[in-house]
Amino acid sequence: MTERAHRPHPSLDDPSIAIEDVLRESIVDAVPVARTEREAEFYTLGDGEMLLNMGPQHPSTHGVLRVVLKLDGERVVDIDPVLGYLHRGVEKLCENADWHQAICYTDPLEYVASLFCEWAPVMAFEKLADVEVPRRAEYIRVLTGELNRIASHALFMGWFALDLGGLTPILWSFIERDEMMDMLAAVTGQKLLFNYFRIGGVNGDINHEFMSRLGDWMSRAGAQIEANQGLLNENEILVRRARGMGVLDGETAMRMAVTGPNIRASGVPFDIRRAHPYSVYPELEFDIPTRQEGDSLARYLLRADEVKQSLRIIDQCLHQMPDGPVMASVPRLIRPRPGRAWAAVEGPRGMYGTYAISDGTDQPFRMRIHDPSFVHLQLVSLLTPGNLIADTMAIMASLDPVMGGVDK
């Protein structure tokens, strides 16, 4: 009756013991238990080294990436990216939705350029279901896709400058990106996650508002992009911080399965739009810009070059677009033949691929999504050791990962 069954901590009964003191005693350098050889090596500190936990809430880790840095003073000795803070199990979700519904699950994977995450599964599903896409729909896909690519690259330039400490470029590029997002919202109905591509076409034809805004924007896009880049490209501080930083040679890039602007900045002219042509890209004229240096500056400048090519493609799309339907006749509920299909598109960050297996039912049996950000994030631990903390940001930002796609 008088004795309590569970005695709480003495500090709760004894006012002379402050809970802060008890807790302060318990603060120790908590080193996680190593599960692999690599972890055992990483968490063994040498003389004068310390671990710095950066993220998942950190101003410049692009969402919820967590990296553990092993530091010797300001110098990064080793780096360990920790993923999974944004994991939603998209691939499993897709297996429990029917073929049409799966598209909107893949949409928020890559929230910066979400049209490309729709494009790859849609193409894979079309291969499985033998659907012929109308030519006008293909042109609209290319047109909106390239617009989205410019929006993504514009945002990249702002983020890159912000990670190097510049305040203004991010806001300037958001103005441009907002204009493009508004255009896409006019035609797709949503501003960020469009959910526009459908199996067999697109959800609705391009409309008057889209065309008038696009015409308006195209007439000043070139000059505007030049002006935004003028703030950065010839900036001595930016160039000095990015040049020679995180050099990735073409051989390593190919070995690490790097795609997109990152591999083209290393001198490998690999672009899925030309290497494995899809949609109406064979009918369009554009160059594949490459750069030989493979450093952060090259990766930044290459994206600036790509914006110009995308503007060319949009211009051609507007001139060559045929009339006709934008949607093939596809039933509400499709049951593709049993089989498997792979489709890949060239997104602003690299190759977005979808590998879908059908067992003949109305739901995918298995879906695998290949995301370029995940592949590129592996480069961080390859490129950053030996540089300073500030360079970690310059390198990570130039690889342009989006955590939504990394964690899926």
Binding site: E20, G165, L167, T168, N235, A390
Partner: protein
Amino acid sequence: MSMAVVTWQRLNVVGKILAIAVPVLIALGLVTVGVAILAGPFAIEFVGDNVPLLRFVAAIGAVLLLTIPTAFVVIFMELKVIARMNLRVGPDRVGPYGTAMSVVHGLKFLSKEDFAPLGVDLQVFTIAPVVVFVGSVMTFLVIPFAPGLFGLDMNVGVLYLFAMGGLTVVGLLMAGWASFNKYSLLGGLRSAAQMVSYEIPLTLSLVGVVLLAGTMSLNQMVLAQSGSIADWYVWQQPLAFVIFIIAGIAEANRSPFDLTEADQEIVAGFATEYSGMRFGFFFFAEYVNVFVVSALIVTFFLGGWTAPFDWPFPVAVAIDPLAWGVGSLVAILALPVVGTLVLAAPFWLSSRITTLQALVIGFILFNVVAIGLVLGWAFVSLDWVSGLFWFFAKSYVFVFFFVWLRGSLPRVRIDQLMGFAWKWLLPAALLNIFVTAAAIVIVNR
């Protein structure tokens, strides 16, 4: 209930206030008179004996008070100017054009919890913001704002400035160490490395100015530059001017040298674990520092409070009201009424404005005109008013310059920062000293 309680309850609010205030005021007045009669002679004697001491105390009080509006103005400029550069609007909700935003910032800091995380070294953690704040505020003491308007005319003013600058480093290092946070530690170490390195070219660049002026007192330096725009030291010391600006930006921890609080790299540096008014002190000190560096640039190189040109036409505006006679004084008393009516008349004629509105407009316009006239008269006839005007005008040009840099430049890296100080600024400052000394010897021969 007694009579007193009933009477008290029957009073309204104003009556209650008066019933308390009047006896209290009478009592206070009696006490004051009594104290003045008893202690008056001693007080007068004390003041007469200790004029320098009291002046010093008054100066420190004025300096502490002056930092508040200074920091508010600089913060408001930072918010608004960077917003315009970012193609944003900036604060526009609090006060006209958002001018009260900084005041609200200050109130927000005051109303926050005074929080110290677990594991911090509480004494050092608490003292550190104060040290930083004192280090930046006390530099105000030797800055001459106008002729005769300075806290203390120290004959080692320049040395005092750098001693106070050194205090800031100690404070930042304390904050970095005491915070029990690796980001703070990195920030504190960065600040130590950066500010110690940049203090050397900063100090050496001033040696040329000290050689030219022949004194280390800031007031004497300004007096040595008075005359015309051609007497400013910026023309004789252009290299030192550039070095001082660059090193001053680094000393004030401003972009592009704001490595101690590089939020993309080390979150907020030394201030990561600080919140509430403790952080407010850092925040305050940073913006006071911006103004101090601008003021020092102006004092050393751009003539301080001296006007860039003489007032082009002579004006005799000495006022001697006693010689005017009763009629003129009555006319002056009638001036506000007449002025208001005259200025209201054109608005009153408009059919859309009522008489009352016209009178209000006339009153406001009269106030604007009258204040403008008084300020103009003061500017022309009182040299400390024009001195203040020129001093603040020049200083805020540099504050704007610092804000402009922050809005347009990325941040340099720590090794580039250190390399720049030791490989470029230091040799340039030494070169400047030798050239200046040689020139002085040759000219004086």
